[in-house]
Symmetry: C2
Subunit: 555 residues, 2 copies
């Protein structure tokens, strides 16, 4: 097979990525700063223009279903997007994907990695366009949409390619096997090994992080030789439509079947995800969303390897601190960022009823609650600044839960409406904090997705850690954090987190937040609790997507 | 943590094992030759004496259930073994295993690997004892029992340790993560990563390869920090009882809880495997056996990662050969070895009705069948030699299927009884070969475990390959092989095998047989067809047994 030009072009990047996943050190190939110095003087304007050009038109995607267009999105900032997407049936999608799979499965792993990196590189160059698309589908504020929907998502995609390529090429592709014999010549066999994909990968996207949560699966599937059908959330199609369009362009330019990547847009009531997930040709399903549908997929899509990220009850244990103001500031930002609509936002804050020791003296649980509420209020006091990280409420469900939050306990902080300076119709809300006692596990023991957190009074840190362990083991979590000045408590928290199977952040007071994870270094999820079947990304996220198959003959 | 003495002792072996799994070259740390030159002058006699000493007594295993003894084995060679094993209830087993898990999970991965290698090393030194135990439970002939039940099984165990240790230690355990900031000092975080096990691993053994099929799971579980409950087949307890005893001895000597490995012997009607498999504490299940129970486990043990090896329809496509006699000899041996009671024995031999080209001229399908029957008959003409690789029929089910084989089609070779020169009561049979047409997929499309093979007349090699592809994709297979002098046919066979997800042997004529695979180089199973969920051993066999869990704090 001819050496892959695309692979050679991106080889250094891939090698650095593999080094980074193994070393877990800081590394960032796609700059997160939306600065003209990084992305070029005209990049911001060009990106916005490209986004505007999509509005009210058929999205330029020439694939099955292109004759039947559907419009399903409306921006949480109030804009009717009016973009028409191809709507194809399951049969058409499966047939086209399976046809593309015959050659993609046989494409050299280096070339597949090269194609993936070229796609990511082109998407990276369009990060401003993507930022607008993500902002106006997820409701994320612009800078967050740029970072989380752009470079950070791209890095999570590259990370998956690095794992996949490393795992596939880390084992010999051919070997001359020579077994000595007691008498005479050795037995000699020529053996060939290839990584054979499972088939079609179905990637079911979510409303809030359309690219970030989909890219690891999309690129893991592609790099391991599977074709991909991307089923976006009906509220957040544009970011994945752009992704599919770029992928198809790169595939076609390089002599591959563009149907290796297909978009499966649908009306909310179509339920095409469930149809596709049960098709025998679909051998991998990746899903981010509700526990209900995730569990259904795991129970029913038995012909497929199913990877899910579902609901969880993220926990914070507050024991003591030597940086009270910084702790409050860090927590306030974590609760406010994207109005708590992150699967990583803390929900349950466990605090001893008796209070905590701080550098500002002992604080009762009531004082801590009031101080946290004050920190959030101060953080959000200027609507222009506040909307810069609050973003907008993504959907009706979040809004409804927020309205009901106060009734769940004793309000510590009431949510408020914020008028967005640029988008009068945007639905913007500040977070709610509700006080509960430890015995109200019926309330805090399940996820309340959105800007709703609970301040839970406990008998002490031992009980806090026990509740962290139990609630996370039972309902899952993507994040946990602890504040303590005691090495013993930190050690106990690490043990509790390991037992519950959740990653732990300790004493975050600066510009690192529990709801954020860095690609190549931080694991997102663990696979060790009910919130996710594996990490983005770890070996388990990759290994089930292909099999090694060998042939052997006498030499 | 103090450096692990056991790890240092076995480090060179482990490093060579990791090199071998990555390079796939020949490597063998445990010699397969039962020669006094290798294992020592007194080894054979000592091993036999050790085996004899078990008979008619309580097996020396001090664990839960030791007060309640059961006897369930009878040698296929006629000896009543009369060994009493502890019989514990699921609750006792789970409680003891979970208690041991608390410290084993926290044991350093190097120490865990060291413990595994010490266990394997001691088992290796007792290979003669193990050979007798395997012979008199599985029915394998002595030399095969020595090799497959001893060194080959040990190597498969070591292989799993190599994968596990490599996967766990291939990623940084700690890192100082430094993110440059536009202004000022970098953000610096200290991060720690650990591989956290899932919990208790249940390993359900089989009758025919009690150690070979169990060791990969047992050692993969142990090396990834899980505790193990070994549930042997009631007909084949002794080999796994010896294994558990050695493991517990090594664990205890090195300050670990011996209950890290427990034996769950049962009466056939106890169905303790099903009980244990559904317990929430059991987070990994490995099973070798019937498709029925394997499917049940996959559908019902939802709390666990389930790895199964089930039935399959192994295929041989005969197209042409330039070594007719050698091909017949190789096939005859593959059909006869252990009376076809290997999950890797060829079942379906596809031959064009019109015949095949050979170095002895064109042979019709009828001639080929007669010549194959002749080759088997010649191979088995001397009962003393024949019983040396036929072994004995392991159980009633195999015997019943063999009795009914002739009625399935047109007999090409009738099975015969053989009187074993040493064991008058041994049930020894020669293989049956039955001729069928390609349209009798109702017969050859399912597994007939035992010495039963079908000679299937096809319209040509194209149809043969199509049937290989279809039957393997539908019902699974652990092996496939092809005979052809045509590079195009070999290429097409490789494509068919890759599509069907089965490993392929090509033109085997010498001392390599399709039913044998070499540890560190050959994959056993693929995970890409219904016969197995993954290979012994590939990354997918390991990755689901642990999760990486991290903690991070400001530096």
């Amino acid at each position: 097979m001819a050496p892959s030009e695309l692979y050679e072009r991106h080889r250094a990047t891939l090698e650095s990525a593999v080094e980074a996943i193994r070393g877990r050190h800081y590394w960032s190939p796609y700059p997160e700063s939306p600065s003209p110095k990084v992305y070029g003087e005209g990049a911001a304007a060009a990106g916005e223009a490209a986004f505007q050009a999509y509005l009210g038109k058929d999205f330029p995607l020439d694939q099955v279903g292109a004759d039947d267009r559907i419009i399903t999105e409306r921006s949480p900032y109030g804009l009717p997007l009016g973009v028409g997407y191809p709507r194809a049936g399951a049969d058409e999608l499966i047939a086209a994907s399976a046809a593309a799979g015959r050659s993609w499965a046989r494409t050299d792993p280096d070339e597949r990695a090269g194609v993936c990196l070229e796609i990511l590189d082109r998407i990276n160059k369009r990060s401003f366009e993507m930022a607008h698309a993500v902002q106006h589908t997820s409701g994320q504020a612009f800078v967050m949409a740029f970072q989380a929907g752009g470079p950070h998502a791209q890095e999570r995609g590259l990370e998956a390619v690095a794992y996949a390529h490393d795992m596939i090429t880390g084992y010999g592709r051919t070997v001359r096997w020579e077994k000595p014999q007691r008498r005479g010549e050795p037995l000699v066999m020529e053996k060939r090994f290839r990584a054979v994909p499972r088939g079609i990968g179905l990637v079911i996207g979510c409303n809030t992080f359309p690219t970030w949560n989909a890219y690891p699966a999309v690129f893991a599937d592609l790099a391991t030789g599977n074709t991909v059908i991307v089923k976006p959330h009906p509220n957040a199609v544009l970011p994945l439509a752009i992704t599919a369009a770029v992928a198809r362009e790169v595939l076609a330019e390089n002599g591959h079947d563009p149907d290796t990547v297909l978009l499966a847009a649908e009306r909310a009531e179509d339920r095409i995800a469930a149809d596709l997930a049960l098709r025998p040709e679909v051998r991998i399903v990746d899903f981010t969303g509700s526990t209900e549908f995730g569990d259904w997929l795991e129970a029913n899509a038995r012909q497929a390897a199913v990877f899910t990220e579902k609901a969880g009850v993220n926990a914070v244990v507050v024991d003591s601190t030597d940086a009270y103001r910084a702790m409050l500031g860090n927590l306030a930002f974590s609760l406010s960022l994207y109005s708590g609509q992150m699967c990583t936002t803390p929900q349950n804050i466990f605090v001893p009823r008796e209070g905590i020791d701080t550098d500002e003296g002992r604080k009762t649980a009531e004082e801590f609650g009031a101080d946290l509420a004050g920190a959030v209020t101060r953080l959000l006091s200027d609507p222009a600044k506040a909307t810069g990280f609050l973003g907008a409420i993504a959907n009706r469900g979040v809004l409804d839960r927020l309205s009901g939050a106060a009734a769940l306990g004793e309000p510590v902080l009431e949510p408020a409406e914020v008028v967005h300076p640029d988008y009068a119709e945007a639905t913007v809300r500040t977070p709610a904090v509700v006080r509960l006692e430890a015995d109200r596990r019926d309330v805090y023991g399940r996820e309340h997705f959105g800007p709703i957190s609970f301040l839970i009074g406990t008998a002490g840190t031992e009980e806090s850690l026990r509740l962290l362990r139990e609630t996370v083991a039972e309902r899952g979590a993507l994040t946990a954090s602890v504040y303590s000045t005691s090495p013993e408590v930190l050690e106990a928290a690490e043990e509790a987190a390991a037992d519950a199977g959740v990653n732990l952040s300790e004493n975050l007071t600066g510009q690192v937040f529990v709801n954020q994870s860095a690609a190549f270094s931080d694991y997102h999820g663990t696979g060790a609790n009910p919130a996710a079947t594996s990490s983005l990304t770890d070996p388990a996220f990759i290994a089930g997507r292909f099999s090694f198959i060998q042939s052997r003959r006498h030499a």
